[in-house]
């Protein structure tokens, strides 16, 4: 029996002899694996970032928002939360830091001839605690600002940049919906999420927001709040769901017209989306790997034909069919695994390139993806090497020797 080392040596010799051909053959696999590694590592880095973001939201935070099923949305039947929902939440023990939020305007924020299309939030002083985001300059809006409907605003750092204040923005005035607001604070930087700035916003007091929105009915608001004891999260959620259903006069069996979500749930939603995307991409890449495998099979069949005489010689010298089978199988696997390794290297390089240009940090290929690439490449080699190897091993020695 040929030792494994000798089989490897033989296979390596023939792979090297046909260097260019081997590389071209493995190209399908190289590209396929590189694509897997790149996609997986970018998605991984991306989702790590998102996870970190959600964690920074504080995992004891909850959001109550109106929920309209798609069918009703199409029919134009939008649901909204009621002002009394806020009181219900306030009455629940174990809840702290409640704040309603709504978007009073979609207009631009102007200052000194510069414009910023940042989102304007109307909310209360508890917003900073619920979101664990505090001002680095000046102060946040307070209860009095709200009661007195003061025209004050807290800006995000990107909004500050867009408005191009030359010196300290605190005390300067910006224009929102033709009203002048005094800048009282700048919030700490949150960074980017999905490549979008999270620091492009302006926060004004809730009641001030209602006044500039023109008091038309109840605004489309949502409620952010946090619970004091994380262990009480589930009971509180159940209790609240019951109470709000009652308040919305939903009969038994009727769907909730609101959503009560924790940061964790939002994270899970995101994760399931990102996993879905990853798997779809891996599936597509899997197809390219199969195509790569067919390429390997093709070249192995050529190789068997080319070396028919050699196979005949080896058989005449006493090689068993299994010797020949193994030799060609190892060659196919060597080809595919080498391709896989090159693909991994290429993929890692591409990941670094993405990191350089996209600003997504810490792009690293997860170990499982690297291992999976190798296992998959080897499997491709075995599966697609089997037919050529079987063909080689079943050659009749005399016919093989006579082959010209």
């Amino acid at each position: 029996m040929l030792s494994l080392y000798e089989i490897f040596r033989l296979s390596w010799l023939s792979t090297r002899k046909n260097g260019m051909r081997s590389v071209l053959t493995a190209l399908g696999l190289i590209i396929g694996v590189a694509a897997v590694i790149t996609v997986v590592s970018v998605m991984d880095a991306f989702s790590n970032r998102i996870t970190a973001k959600f964690e920074s939201l504080g995992n004891n935070g909850l959001t109550l928002s109106a929920y309209t099923p798609l069918k009703h949305q199409i029919q134009g039947r939008l649901t909204a939360l009621k002002a009394s929902d806020l009181d219900i939440i306030k009455r629940v023990s174990g809840v702290r830091h409640i704040t309603p939020v709504f978007f009073p305007t979609n207009g631009a924020i102007k200052s000194n001839g510069y414009e910023s299309f940042s989102q304007v939030y109307a909310t209360t002083e508890y917003y900073q605690d619920v979101n664990q985001n505090y001002p680095t300059q000046g102060r946040f809006i307070n209860r009095t600002d709200n009661l007195k409907r003061r025209k004050v605003v807290v800006l995000g750092v990107d909004t500050v940049d867009e408005l191009k204040f030359h010196d300290d923005p605190i005390g300067r005035y910006v224009q929102i919906e033709d009203e002048w607001f005094k800048v009282i604070g700048v919030q700490q930087r949150k960074g980017k999420l999905f490549g979008l700035s999270q620091d492009s916003f302006a926060i004004i007091p809730y009641e001030t927001g209602r006044s500039i929105a023109g008091y038309h009915k109840e605004p489309q608001f949502f409620v952010q709040f946090s619970v004091a004891d994380l262990n009480q999260l589930e009971p509180i959620k159940r209790h609240l769901t019951r109470e709000i259903r009652k308040n919305h006069q939903l009969s038994k069996g009727q769907q909730n017209d609101f959503k009560l979500e924790t940061a964790e749930q939002m994270m899970e939603t995101f994760n399931s989306i990102s996993e879905g995307v990853t798997f779809v991409l891996i599936g597509m890449v899997g197809i390219s790997l199969v195509v790569g495998g067919v390429g390997i099979m093709n070249i192995m069949l050529v190789s068997v034909t080319e070396r028919t005489r050699e196979i005949g010689i080896q058989k005449a010298l006493g090689a068993q069919p299994t010797n020949i089978l193994l030799q060609f199988l190892v060659e196919a696997v060597l080809l595919s695994v080498t391709g896989g390794a090159l693909g991994v290297i290429l993929g890692l390089g591409l990941g670094q390139l993405v990191e350089l240009f996209s600003g997504i940090e810490n792009i690293e290929a997860p170990t499982w993806a690297v291992l999976l690439s190798f296992v998959f490449s080897a499997t491709v080699g075995v599966v697609f090497g089997l037919i050529p190897a079987a063909k080689a091993s079943s050659l009749h020695p005399i016919e093989a020797l006579r082959f010209e």
Binding site: M1, L2, S3, E6, L10, L13, S14, K17, R309, E310, G312, I313, Q314, K315, A316, L317, G318, A319, Q320, P321, N323, P397, I398, L401
Partner: protein, 235 residues
């Protein structure tokens, strides 16, 4: 050593069947050197294939070393080729991607022999054919005569009971032919059993016994008086 009992070989083509060997019976003792001669199409290649365990007879029995090869499966045939027979081919049939030493080691690679011992045995055989200084060269760097010596070394390496040479000098000039024939004669004098297939009378005359095939039939079996038959009695 070798006994063929009424061997027939038919080749089946689409339209007709071809009777390549007709009722061949033959006995070769250990230590003999036998030439099989005949023109092309006489059936000598078919005979060599059967004796070399590369092919099986259609009917008849082939006893090699006390076993009836006619009933062997593919694995057993490969095993017999590996252990019992050393092949020397007209076209040398060396593997171009392996160096001389690796080519000679190859038959041993199919046996359970430690790597070190394989190498020792191979070097020994290469010394035997006078190529000890060419171990790391590749077949295409050698002359025809040298290549055939490598092939002889490879045929000897597994210590086979029978050396089967198919037109061993067919691709060589007269000088190297002489070289190779002397090597064969030496092997014979050392007690190896030789079977040489040839169409050249000069080669046949240097074997102790010559068998002539014609149209698939054995038509002549003579001893050469000039060559002393070297039959070792005990098998």
């Amino acid at each position: 050593m070798i006994e063929l009992k009424s061997i027939n070989k038919y080749y089946q083509s689409e339209a007709q069947s071809f009777h390549a060997l007709k009722h061949i019976s033959l006995k070769v003792e250990r230590g003999e050197s036998v030439a099989i001669i005949g023109s092309s199409g006489s059936g000598k290649s078919t005979m060599m294939n059967i004796i070399g365990c590369l092919d099986l007879p259609s009917t008849g029995e082939y006893w090699l070393n006390g076993e009836n090869v006619a009933g062997f499966n593919e694995r057993q045939l490969a095993d017999t080729r590996n252990h019992t027979i050393g092949f020397v081919f007209q076209n040398f049939h060396l593997l171009p991607r392996m160096n001389i030493l690796e080519n000679v080691v190859l038959p041993l690679a199919y046996q359970r022999i430690p790597t070190k011992q394989r190498k020792e045995q191979a070097v020994e055989c290469l010394v035997r054919v006078g190529l000890q200084d060419k171990l790391n060269m590749y077949p295409n760097q050698l002359s025809g005569g040298q290549r055939q010596r490598v092939a002889v070394a490879r045929a000897l390496v597994a210590k086979p009971k029978l050396i089967l040479a198919d037109e061993p000098t067919g691709n060589l000039d007269s000088n190297t032919t002489e070289d190779i024939m002397q090597l064969f004669e030496q092997l014979h004098s050392e007690g190896h059993t030789l079977l040489i297939i040839t169409h050249e009378k000069e080669i046949a005359d240097r074997c102790a016994r010559a068998i002539r095939l014609q149209d698939g039939e054995l038509v002549e079996d003579r001893l050469n008086s000039t060559v002393i038959p070297k039959v070792i009695a005990c098998a």
